[in-house]
């Protein structure tokens, strides 16, 4: 079927179908880079898919001392949701439970958006009347006394309505190891792109899903067309040489960022060749009717 190829890797003439999402960004700092990372990892835990997590979240970048508002090491985190209200709810729950609680942390807006989302404005009440409001330089901060000193949190962060969720690549290997190496390599390359996250564990999802299920009440179920063990039993999309398939899902603050990440991932995976990495690379879509954004692999190839 595929007539496209790069470095011996077959490329489907297909596209990733992605959706409009609401998103926000935070900058979390701490006394050390390690503690900033711990707070951010905790905040973005259990945030792989909006199907059951409320948000999709991940670390966008690690920030050096000279890149953060308070001159300490930090991490930039992105959060994506289907609605503004869900994003707001998840934001305050997660910052309240995972950042406020983390030793030495501070939390700042990571995005100038079209609308504000409550950040410190929602959490300040924890301080039980001892919260201190500070406005300067056009920014508004809340200072909350906590047991290790003071939690400083910006009052609001920005919301963007032009974020994109669901950019993806399907990496198909002739062995489990080869598919995993292709996916790992692509994720490393994609992490170098700004304004995107790969929300699944280690950036990779092995249980790609299709819409719907034979069971009532399930929104999504296993993508049987790409399950090697169902080849021959179902309408399979896999040739005989494919043994294992892994997917990378990409959420970005802009369609351009998602395209850049897919381009970087494709280039890195193709460079491995069909033996060490993926023998075939595809992308998931729903026929193009559900999502507004179509990322065609043909246009993103190295």
């Amino acid at each position: 079927m595929p007539e496209l190829s790069r470095n011996g890797v077959r490329i489907d003439d297909s596209f990733a179908e992605a959706f409009d999402m609401r998103a926000t960004a935070l900058v979390i700092t701490a006394d050390t880079a390690a503690w900033a990372r711990i707070a951010a990892t905790s905040l973005t835990g259990f945030a792989t898919s909006i199907i059951a997590c409320g948000v999709e979240a991940g670390i966008d970048a690690e920030l050096a001392e000279n890149e953060t508002p308070d001159g300490r090491p930090g991490v930039r985190v992105l959060m994506f949701a289907g609605s503004t209200s869900e994003l707001q709810k998840q934001l305050q729950n997660r910052v309240g439970q995972c950042v406020l609680t983390s030793p030495g942390s501070a939390c700042f807006a990571g995005l100038e958006g079209v609308e504000p989302l409550k950040l410190g404005d929602a959490i300040r009440y924890f301080a039980d009347g001892w919260q201190i409001s500070k406005r300067f330089d056009g920014r508004h901060f809340w200072r909350m006394p906590v047991m290790d000193g003071e939690f400083v949190c910006e009052a609001t962060t920005g919301l963007t309505k032009s974020a994109v969720g669901g950019g993806n690549l399907l990496l198909m290997g002739r062995s489990v190891v080869a598919a995993r190496r292709a996916a790992e390599t692509a994720v490393v390359a994609m992490r170098g792109i700004a304004d995107v996250i790969m929300p699944f564990p280690g950036g990779i999802v092995r249980s790609g899903s299709k819409v719907g299920s034979k069971y009532k009440g399930l929104m999504a179920s296993t993508n049987d067309a790409y399950c090697p063990s169902l080849r021959g039993l179902t309408q399979s999309a896999l040739e005989a040489d494919i043994v294992s398939v892994l997917e990378i899902v990409i959420d970005g603050l802009t369609p351009e960022a998602v395209a850049a990440a897919m381009r970087a991932g494709l280039a890195a995976a193709c460079a491995l060749g069909p033996e060490a990495g993926a023998a075939r690379i595809g992308a998931g879509n729903y026929g193009g009717k559900l999502g507004r954004h179509h990322f065609h692999l043909r246009e993103l190839l190295p």
Partner: protein, 274 residues
């Protein structure tokens, strides 16, 4: 096109109300109308043309050349543009200001920045009493904006300050930050007696001060806030940013009232109390 310029011809015969000489008031006026603007504060009529020579220019950039302690209400009510005074001014400079930038190269009198809501004021010299304080009958002092005083301030600087940042690079008279409600007052020199007297909330930073017995030492980690504040003021006052980076001791008070205010004092500079 250059700035719209008012040059003082001679010492004014009376105190002048210069609140008319702000960019938004001058923007749509013809030269003849500007010359006829009243600046009198007595029963003796006096207009701009009687005391100033006016050089036409862009009204969003007003310059007053030749200052006088009789220049009252300079920049009062200003909302936009810039106003520069190449000299000293009298009472109530920048009173009720909401936006724009007022620069006074010399000294300013009492009640400078009183009731200010926004914008920026820079005083090159020193200011009189009641900097940023409420006017007669008002409940709130300054409630927004930024004030930088390169010299000293008189008594009661920041009285009933509600919001905004004040930097005084020199010393202050007695009772700075008195009855403060919120906001930030930074004194790069020595704060006068009874600093923070009856302060409810807000932040007073001073290189040197003698806290009242109603301020309690509450040394705690606060580096993040101080860094944010230092970065916010660094561009307008490197001295204030430097002070904030020093080792400071924190006090809470004034517990004679609400007591949710704070005072940062540089270690080793705390004068004896009582």
């Amino acid at each position: 096109m250059s700035a719209l310029q008012f040059s003082l011809r001679e010492t004014p015969p009376q105190r002048l109300d210069l609140s008319a000489l702000i960019p938004e008031r001058l923007a749509d006026l013809e030269m003849a109308e500007i010359l006829r603007l009243s600046v009198t504060t007595t029963r003796q009529p006096l207009c701009v043309g009687d005391v100033f020579t006016v050089h036409p220019g862009r009204a969003d950039e007003v310059v007053i050349e030749g200052g006088s302690a009789r220049f009252d209400e300079v920049g009062a009510g200003m909302t936009r543009g810039t106003l520069t005074v190449e000299g000293e001014v009298g009472a109530r400079a920048g009173r009720g200001m909401q936006g724009g930038r007022l620069l006074v190269r010399g000294d300013a009198g009492v009640f400078a920045a009183s009731g200010m809501r926004g914008g920026e004021i820079e005083i090159g010299g020193s200011v009189g009493a009641f900097l940023a304080a409420p006017g007669p009958g008002e409940r709130l002092g300054m409630a927004g904006g930024l004030v930088v005083v390169r010299g000293n301030a008189g008594p009661r600087a920041g009285d009933r300050l509600r919001r905004g940042v004040i930097v005084i690079e020199g010393d202050t008279g007695d009772e700075p930050a008195s009855r403060m409600l919120a906001g930030t007052l930074i004194v790069c020199g020595r704060a006068g007696a009874r600093a923070g007297y009856l302060m409810r909330r807000g932040t007073l930073v001073a290189a040197q001060a003698a806290p009242l017995p109603t301020f309690v030492p509450i040394g705690s980690a606060d580096q993040v806030f101080r860094t944010l504040l230092a970065r916010a003021v660094a561009a307008v006052s490197p001295a204030a940013a430097e002070l904030l980076g020093k080792n400071l001791t924190r006090f809470g008070g004034d517990v004679a009232t609400l007591g949710k205010g704070e005072m940062f004092i540089r270690i080793g500079q705390i004068a004896a109390t009582g």
